[in-house]
Subunit: 462 residues, 4 copies
C-alpha cells in the first residue's frame, strides 16, 4: 500500500512484529463507521462524486457485514485493520476504493477508530457498574436490620449495619462512574481531518464529520490530534481505580466467607472446589476480583511508559496503546457481572455477624458516656482504656465489670452505665449524615437510588 | 494519647517506623483549620461551651503561628501532626484541649486534612499550568511566520508552522487543567463527622463543617469516607499525565536544541555546563522535564499498589498516601515554572528550521496534485513513491526531476508541477480547523486565549 | 565550576531544580573515598606530585570529617556533592584542589559513588534479612509442636505445623538474600576512568582504582559505564520483591491477630491504639509491612520509566536515580528490624489454632484412605465430596457421620475410618521433603540453619 | 472434577472468568512432561502398578501429540490445562486416568508446569540475546575505523569510535544474559510433591522427580512451593530491563536514522512507508523496540501488584501470573531477532558521522594540553571555556582562533596548540581499558568474543 519508494519486501519477522491486524481487527466497526462518514465528507467537498460515495459506502457496509458474520478472510498483506478493509473494499468495488484515503492518513484514522471504540467501552463499563450498584442497593435493602462488627486495622472497632458496609462500595462505584463520564468529554473529540499531522488539504467539513460520528467537538490541533492518547490513559486509570475498588471488595468477601469470619456464604454457582481436597469451597470469583486489579494497573503503567519521552506527533510506539486498552475493557467486562452475581446470590449469615460483636466495641460509647458527664474526651478515653485493661486482666468482657469496679476507675460512672452495652443502641446513636444509624442508612440508600435514577434517565436520553 | 489499655511503651524502632510527623507536619495549616471548624461545630452542638470554643480557637491560632514562624518544637511523642497539635494545644490552653477530639477520630481528621491540602495543591498546579500556557501562546504569537519540518516517526513529514507545533502542547496542558478541575468535584467532599468509621455520635452539623471549610458537599458514607484515597490517586494520575506531557516537550526540546537539529537555543540561564568538557552547554532543564515523569508515575503506582486488596475502612497502610502526594506536588511545583521560563527565553532559529525543509516533504502535495487531475489517491501515492525512488537513485531532490521524468512516471503531470515545491504554499493549503495553515493557527491561538480568559475569570470568582 | 563559556547566571528556580545536593550529600563518604583513590591514581600516573596527592588526601579526610561531624556548611553554589566537596577542598588546601578533577568527569564520579553506596546498602539489607531469618527460626523452634489450619484460598485446607508456616517465609527471604548476592556481581564494577563517556586520557591505572575501592572488576565500555543504572534497577527489584514478601507476612499477621482468627497476639511494644476507641489494639507494624511494598514497587517503576527510551550515554534524567534508591534502602532498613521484633515478641495462641481445626480438613486423608483400598483417586474425591455434602446437609461434622452412612457412600469404608480424624496423624503423614510432617520440618529447620551458617561464615570473610 | 460437594453448576459468566484454558493450554508440553514423571513416581512408590503407569504414559504421549498436531479438541468443561489433559486421558485410557492425580494438587502441578515453561523461555531468550550480540560484534568489526560524535545530554561531547558506541549495547545485553542465568537457579526448583500446601502423603520420591524433569533441586517448604511466583517476577524484571536496553537502542537508532543525524540508513526490509506521504521511510522496527519496553514493564507491575498483600499459600489470584509471563516471552521473542536484523542490515554513513564532528568537541583535549603545561585542570577548564565563548562570539570554530588569541587567553598555549584539533588523535589518546581508543576497542571486542565463546560452550554442554 505504501511501497512505491521501497525496493525490497519486508523481512518476515519484522512484518509480523509490525503488523497489528491480529489485535486491531476489533476496531472494524469503528473503522468502517469512520470510513463511511469520510466518504460522505469527500463527496460534500466534491473530491469524489456522489456515485463514487455510494459505491464506497455499499462496499464498506458489505465488508462490515463480513466481519460481523465472521466471513472476512484476512490476507498476509493485511498490515492493520485499515489496510485490510481497504484491500477488501478494492476487491468489492474496484479502483474507486483507492479514493477513500484521499487526504486521510492512518494517523488520524486510527485515532478516530480508537476514540469511537473507547466511547463504546465507557458506555458498556458504565452499564456494568450500574448493574453492580443495583445489586448492592438491593442486598442492602434486604438486610437493613443486620448488625455486624465494623473494623479498622482489621480489628473490631464499632458495631455497624451490614447495609452500611455494603453501601460503602456503592459510593466507590459512583465515583468510578462519574470519572468515566468526565472522561467522555475528552474522548469525544474528532481527530479525523488532521491528516498525517498537518491537517487536511481538501477543505473537508470537520464539523460534519463530528456530527456524523457522534463526537462532541473537533480537535483543535492536528499534531496533538494524531498523537494524543490521553483519553486511553485516562480510561485506563479510571479502570485501574475501579479495579482497586473491586480488589477491596474481593478482599472483604474473601475474609467474610472464611470459616473464621463466616459472615457470608458464597453461592455454589460462584465458588469452586479443589482438585485434591474434597471439602473445599473456594471464593475464586472474589479472589479474581482482588487479583485482576493487578493487570489493569499494569495496563495503565504500560501506556504511561510508552508515552513517556516520546517525540511529538505520531510515532510507531503509539501502536502499543491498543492491547492494554482491550485488556482493561475485557477484564472489567468479564469481572463486573460476576461480582454483581456474587453479591446478589451470597447468603448473609446475620447470626455469625451478631456473634462477632463484643462488648469492647462499645468502649467509645462508654467514653462518650463519661463525656456527657463532663469528663474531657481525652481523659475519658484514658479511663475507659484502664477499664479495658482491667477486664482483659480479669479475663472478662468489658460489660461484665461490676459497677464498683467502674466507679473505682471513675466516680462519674453511674448505675446506668450498663445501658451502654447494647449494640443496637450504639448503632442508633450514629444518626448523622453518612453515619451507620438505621435512618441515616435508609436516607443513604434513598440518595443512592436518586443518583441511579438520574443516571438512567440520562443514559436513556443520550 | 491512646495508651490507656497498653502496658508497655513502644519499641523505639517501631515508634519511628510508625510515626508520620516527619512528613505530615506539612498538613499543619489544614489540620488546624479543620480543628477550628470542629471546635465551632462542637459548640453549636453544645458539646462544649462557647468559652471553651474560644479558648480552643485562640490556642489553635497560636499553634499555627508557631508552625508558620518555624518556632514549633516537636517532641519525641509527637506521633503525627494531630497529636503534635493536640499536645501543644494542651500546653497552651490546659485540659480543655482534651475536649477537642470528642467524637472525632484521626481517621476522619487526616482524611479532612489531606483533602484540604489537595485542594490547595490543585489550585497551585493549575496556576502553574496557566503560566506555562501563557508562555506557549506568547511564543507562538512572536513567531507566527516561522516554518519548520513537521515529523512523524521522527522523519521529516510535512512542513508546518513552528507556532502550530508549540500550540500542540497548549492543548495537552488544557486537558491537564480540565482533568484537575474535574478532580476537584471528588476532592471537595467532607469526611469530618465520620468518626473512626461509624459516624459521629454527637449530632454534629456536617453541613456547617462543610461550609466552614469550603467543601462542596458532605461524604455519603462514613466507612468510605475514612478510607477513600481515590482523590489522591486521581490527582496523582492527573499529575503523571501532565508529567508525561512535560516529558514529551522535554524530548522535543532536547532534540531541537541538539547541534543536529539546531532549531532552538536554550538561554544560558536555563542550561548548564560540564565539569570536564569546557565547550558543553546542556539542556538540563528539559532533560529533567523528560525524566521527572518517571517519579510521578512511580508515585501513582505506589498509591494504587498500597490500595490494592486492602480490607474495608481504615488500615494503617493508608498512611503511605502522603509522601507520594507531596512528592508529586513538589515535583510539578518545581518543574512547571522552569519549563515556562525555558519556553519564554529560548532563541528560535528560524533559518535552521527553514534549512531543514526538503522537497520530499511535499510528496503528499504532489500526490494531491495528481488527485486533482483525477488519479485515485492510492494510485497517486504509488506514482509519487516511484518519483521519490527515481530522485533518490539519481541523487537529486524531488523538485529537481525534470518535467519529462515526471511525465514518464505519470502523464497527468503538467508544467505547473513545479509550483508544488513551495513550502509556504503547502502550509497555506492546510487552512482547516486544527490544521497548520496560518489563518487556522491564528484562529487556534484566539481559541486558546478565549479558553484562558474563561479560566482566569472563573479562578478570580471561585 | 563549569561556567567559563556562559554569559549569564542561572535562573533561581532552575538552579534549585537542577541542584542535587539536598539529597546526594548522603554520598559524601563514597564520594570522598573515590576522590582519595583517584588522587593516588593521579600521582601514580605522574599527573600530580606525591606532595600534591598528600595535600589532597589530607584535605579530603578533613572534609569527610566535617560531614561526619555535621559541621560541613553548604553554600548556595554547591550544585551537588561533587562540587560541594571540591569547593570545600579548595578552601582547605588551595589551588591544588583544582587538579583533582583532571581526567575525571562527574559522569564517572557519580556512577562510582552510587555503586559504592549500593554495595553498602546491599550488605546492610542482607544483614537485616539474616536477623529476620533468625527470628523465624527461633520462633519455629520454640513452637515445634503447635498445629494450625493451613489455608488455600483463605479457606481451611489441611492441618499443618505452625513452624512450617513460619518457615515458609524463611525461604522467601533466602531467595531475597541470594538475589542481592547475585546483584553484587553487577554492582561491583568500576566506572571511574570512563571520563565523560570516552574514557580517561591520562593512562590512569583502573585496576589499581578497582583494588583501592574494593570493586571486583573494571567496566568494559566507557559509554555504558557512565549511563548504566541497571545495578540500581536490579537492587530496586530485589527490594520490591522483598517488600512483597513482607507484605504477605504483614497480611498473614494482620489476619492472624484479628479477633476472628486470634492465632497470635502482638506484643504491646509493637501495637498502637486508637485516638477515639479506647479498646483498640492495632497491628500497625504489620500493616506498614503490608503497605510499604507499594512504595518500593513505585521506586522501581520510577527508575525503569526514567531509563526507558533514554538516548545513549549520560543524560541529566539519570539524576532521578538516587531518590528512589535512597527511599528503598531507608524503607527496608526501617522495616526489617521491626518485622523481626514483631516475630520475636508475638504471643502464639496454640489453643486458638487448635480450635480452628475442623474435621472437614481431613477430607483429603479420607480420600487417601479410599485410595489405599483401591479406589482411583478421582473417584475417591467424588465420594468424599458426597460425604461432605451429607454432613453439611445434616449439620454435623464430617467425623460425626456414622459408619453406616459412610458405607452407604462407599462400601470400601471400614470401621477404621474413624482413625482418620486425628489432626496430628494427618500432619505426621506428610513426612516428605518440604512437607509439614514434624520430622520434615525439623530437617527443614536444620537445613535453614546450615544456610545461615554458610552465609555468616562468608560474610565474616568477605 | 471437584464437584462432589456442590449442588449447583457454575454460573456461565463466572465459569468463563474462572477458566484459564484459553491461555494456559500453552503449558501442555510442560504439563504432560510433569504428569509422565509423576506417573513414574507413583509406580516407584507402589501407589499404582507398572501396567497402570505404562497405560497412563501411553495415553499422555497421545494427548501431547494431539496438542502438537493441533487435533486436540477442547470441551466447555476444560477449566484449565490440567483438567483438559485429565479429561482427554480418561477418554483414551479409561478409569486409570483417575489415579494420576493421587497425592497431587493443581497447586503443585501448575507451579511445576510454569517453572518448566519458564526454563525453556529463559533458554530461548538467552539464545536470542546471543544472536543480537553477534550482530553487534560483527557490525563493530566491519566499521572499526569509523569516527562519530559521542554525545552527553544529546549534545556533542567528544569524538568516539562508532564501534565503541555499538559495543556499549553488547555489555548491556551481557548483563541481561547473566541475570537470566542467575534467575535459572531460582526457577530450577521442584514444587511437585508439595500437594495442595502440606506436602505429599504418599512418600513420593521428590529427588527422582527432580531428576526426571531436569530440576536442579527440590523445594524446601511446601507452603512456599505452591505460592512462590518469585521466579516469574524475577524473569519479568530481567525481561523489563532487557526491554529498557532495547528501548535505548531504539531511541538511538531512531535519532541516528533521522535526516538531521543521518548516521545510519535502515534497510528497506526493516522500514515502512506512510499511507499518505509517499516519500516517508520510517524506522518502525526501532520505534517498536523503544515502545515495547512499556508493556514488559507493565507485565512486571501486574505481577508484583497481584502478589502484594496476598495471604500465604495458594490463592486464586495467582492465576494472573501466566498472561504477563507469556506476553513478556512473546514480546522479546518477536523483538530480539528483528533488532538483530536491523543491526546487521543497516547502512553506516561514515561520512555523515565525520561531518558531524566539530572542533569544539576537542575542548577537553585543549584543557588537557594546558594541564600538561602545569595549569590545574579546573583553571584550564575555565580558560578553554573562555576560548569557546570567544569563538562563539566571533562566529568561528574553536580551531580557527589565532595563536595570538589563544595566548591572550593563556600564555601557556604554544604554537603546537593546533595539533590538538585532530579527531583521530583525540580518540587515540583514550587507549585505556574501556576507553574509545582503537586498540582499547579491539581489546574490548576480543573480550566480548571470549565471553560469547564461554557461553556457547556452556550452552552446548548443559
Amino acid at each position: 500500500m505504501w511501497g512505491g519508494r521501497f525496493s525490497k519486501t519486508l523481512d518476515d519477522q519484522f512484518a509480523q512484529l509490525n503488523a497489528s491486524f491480529r489485535f486491531d481487527w476489533r476496531l472494524y466497526d469503528a473503522d468502517i463507521r469512520g470510513s463511511i462518514a469520510y466518504a460522505r465528507a469527500l463527496a460534500r467537498a466534491q473530491v469524489i462524486r456522489d456515485a463514487e460515495r455510494d459505491a464506497l459506502i455499499d462496499g464498506l457496509v458489505q465488508v462490515k457485514q463480513e466481519f460481523y458474520n465472521g466471513t472476512f478472510t484476512a490476507q498476509p498483506s493485511d498490515e492493520d485493520i485499515h489496510t485490510a478493509v481497504e484491500r477488501r473494499l478494492g476487491e468489492l468495488v474496484g479502483s474507486v476504493a483507492g479514493k477513500l484515503h484521499t487526504g486521510r492518513s492512518r494517523n488520524d484514522q486510527i485515532a478516530t477508530d480508537t476514540r469511537l471504540f473507547t466511547l463504546d467501552a465507557i458506555r458498556n463499563t458504565q452499564h456494568a457498574i450500574l448493574n453492580a450498584q443495583h445489586a448492592l442497593i438491593e442486598k442492602s435493602e434486604q438486610h437493613l436490620d443486620v448488625l455486624m462488627p465494623g473494623y479498622t486495622h482489621l480489628q473490631r472497632a464499632q458495631p455497624i449495619l451490614f447495609a452500611h458496609w455494603l453501601m460503602s462500595y456503592f459510593w466507590m462505584f459512583e465515583r468510578d462512574y462519574a470519572r468515566l463520564t468526565d472522561c467522555i468529554t475528552r474522548v469525544s473529540v474528532l481527530p479525523l481531518g488532521s491528516g498525517a499531522l498537518a491537517g487536511n488539504a481538501l477543505a473537508i467539513d470537520r464539523e460534519f464529520l463530528a456530527r456524523e460520528l457522534g463526537f462532541a467537538r473537533v480537535g483543535e490541533n492536528s499534531i496533538d490530534a494524531v498523537s494524543d492518547r490521553d483519553f486511553i490513559a485516562e480510561f485506563l486509570f479510571d479502570a485501574a481505580l475501579l479495579g482497586v475498588h473491586l480488589s477491596r471488595l474481593g478482599e472483604d468477601l474473601v475474609l467474610y466467607s472464611s470459616a473464621e469470619f463466616g459472615f457470608v456464604t458464597m453461592d455454589d454457582a460462584y465458588a469452586t472446589g479443589s482438585s485434591i481436597m474434597p471439602q473445599k469451597k473456594n471464593p475464586d470469583a472474589m479472589e479474581l476480583a482482588r487479583g485482576k486489579a493487578g493487570r489493569v494497573i499494569g495496563d495503565l503503567v504500560t501506556l504511561l511508559t510508552v508515552l513517556k519521552g516520546l517525540p511529538s506527533s505520531y510515532d510507531k510506539d503509539l501502536q502499543e496503546d491498543k492491547e492494554p486498552l482491550f485488556d482493561a475493557v475485557d477484564t472489567l467486562g468479564a469481572l463486573l457481572p460476576v461480582v454483581a452475581g456474587v453479591i446478589r446470590t451470597m447468603r448473609v449469615n446475620a447470626d455469625k455477624m451478631r456473634a462477632a460483636l463484643d462488648a469492647a466495641m462499645l468502649a467509645t460509647d462508654l467514653a462518650d458516656y463519661l463525656v456527657r458527664r463532663g469528663v474531657p474526651f481525652r481523659e475519658a478515653h484514658r479511663l475507659v482504656g484502664a477499664a479495658v485493661k482491667t477486664a482483659e486482666a480479669r479475663g472478662v468482657a468489658l460489660a461484665d465489670l461490676s459497677l464498683d469496679e467502674y466507679q473505682k476507675i471513675a466516680p462519674e460512672f453511674g448505675a446506668d452505665v450498663k445501658t451502654i452495652f447494647d449494640f443496637a443502641r450504639s448503632v442508633a446513636s450514629h444518626e448523622i449524615g453518612g453515619g451507620t444509624g438505621p435512618n441515616a442508612v435508609r436516607a443513604q440508600i434513598a440518595q443512592a437510588r436518586a443518583v441511579m435514577n438520574r443516571r438512567e434517565q440520562k443514559a436513556k436520553k443520550g
